[in-house]
């Protein structure tokens, strides 16, 4: 959607200079703004609450793509949570330190869970 609006702006600047911008162009902009956008979700399991820490695990849920089997991978999608943020992902959930009880010798869930989103 962002790319389509950018394209509309470029075209409309030219039309404005040529004095050919019309109500139809504005209606088209309204349609673009209202167009459905889709949320992609990325779970990243960091080895600490520090966003620069390396990752232990990851999972991308991409509703824009067909849900088809993909072979397993050992290639991390990003070096860290911060690297994902630099690539346009927005964090929607930070790990809550209060959930990580420090007692005994038992381990349970993996790493520190960051949930990120990107609108496409």
């Amino acid at each position: 959607m962002k790319a389509a609006i950018g394209e509309w702006l470029a075209t409309s600047r030219q039309k404005l200079q040529a004095d050919t911008l019309t109500i139809d162009d504005l209606d088209r902009l309204a349609d673009l703004v209202e167009e459905h956008s889709c949320q992609m979700i990325l779970y990243l399991y960091s080895k600490s609450t520090n966003m620069r820490s390396p990752l232990a695990s990851w999972m991308l849920y991409d509703a824009t793509q067909p849900q088809e089997p993909q072979l397993p991978s050992q290639e991390v999608p990003y070096a860290s949570v911060l690297a994902a943020v630099a690539d346009g992902w927005r964090i929607v959930q930070f790990p809550n330190a209060k959930l990580f009880a420090y007692q005994g010798v038992d381990n349970d869930y993996l790493g520190f869970e960051f949930i990120l989103e990107k609108m496409v």
């Binding site: 232990a56 089997p69 397993p72 991390v76 005994g104 038992d106 349970d108 869930y109 790493g111």
Partner: protein
């Protein structure tokens, strides 16, 4: 009565304590593997409980030898099992553990996966997470996990048997072809009190020698793993699992001369 000899030594048992699995590649005879070709999916109790399966698989010297090493004398041999059969492509199962998995230092059940056919990565191999066998989790609450550093896809030769501590995280991996992928799952159980009666060279019980940390494990988890592994080793050796962490090479100040 079947005479089963243990096959693991101290080193092998210590490896299992850390990883939670033993992999026996291609040990089952090919002629028996082919007898599984027409098996239906689902419960296969009669087949697994049959004399032929018992002798070819369950009492195979290498398979039963691991069971004897880790479960002690007169362990219980399974009388039933389940045939996990996949043919069409699928996304893969979600990560899960079976039953009530989790913490504790005991080794009382070995859950085994037998593969009558070779398994390639496109066939949707079973995936396990080494070292996850003592993580106390709700199995439904790990279903959103995807790839995990250190996960292991069991791409194996026909006739392979994987033997795991009950509770290890596993799943059927994503399958991208139509080839038949079969696995028969069954479990051995312990009856005997634990003691160090696997293959040993010396009577003296050695200290546990820690194994490297798995790639997904955080710093604090690696400390916990180390302590838990020592306790599990002590449990298997029939020793006290109550232990205090100490610096083995340090001395009390009162023992030092002025």
């Amino acid at each position: 009565m079947a005479q089963i000899k243990p096959t693991l030594d101290d080193d092998g048992v210590m490896d299992f304590v850390a990883s939670g699995y033993v992999l026996l590649e291609g040990v089952i005879d090919e002629s028996f593997n082919r007898r599984c070709d027409k098996l239906d999916r689902g419960a296969v109790n009669a087949f697994v409980g049959s004399d032929d399966f018992t002798h070819a698989v369950l009492l195979h010297p290498q398979v039963a030898g691991v069971a004897r090493s880790l479960l002690g004398e007169d362990f219980l041999v399974p009388a039933g099992g389940h045939h996990h059969l996949f043919e069409a492509p699928h996304l893969g199962q979600t990560w899960h553990s079976d039953g009530l998995s989790g913490s504790g230092f005991d080794v009382t059940e070995l859950q085994c996966y037998y593969y009558p056919h070779a398994v390639e990565i496109e066939d949707g191999p079973t995936m396990i997470l080494p070292g996850s066998h003592c993580r106390a989790v709700d199995r439904e609450a790990i279903a959103h996990y995807g790839d995990i550093l250190g996960q292991l896809s069991l791409t194996v030769a026909a006739g392979t048997v994987a033997m795991t501590r009950y509770g290890i995280w596993h799943k059927a991996g994503p399958k991208t072809n139509d080839r038949r992928r079969a696995m028969i799952k069954f479990s051995y159980h312990r009856q005997a009190e634990p003691r160090r009666d696997w293959r040993i060279d010396t009577v003296e019980i050695p200290e546990y020698v820690d194994r490297p940390r798995f790639a997904y494990v955080t710093e604090v988890e690696s400390y916990r793993d180390r302590v838990r592994r020592m306790c599990t080793w002590n449990w298997l050796c029939g020793q006290d699992t109550e232990m205090a962490l100490r610096w083995e090479t340090s001395r009390p100040v009162s023992e030092l001369g002025g």
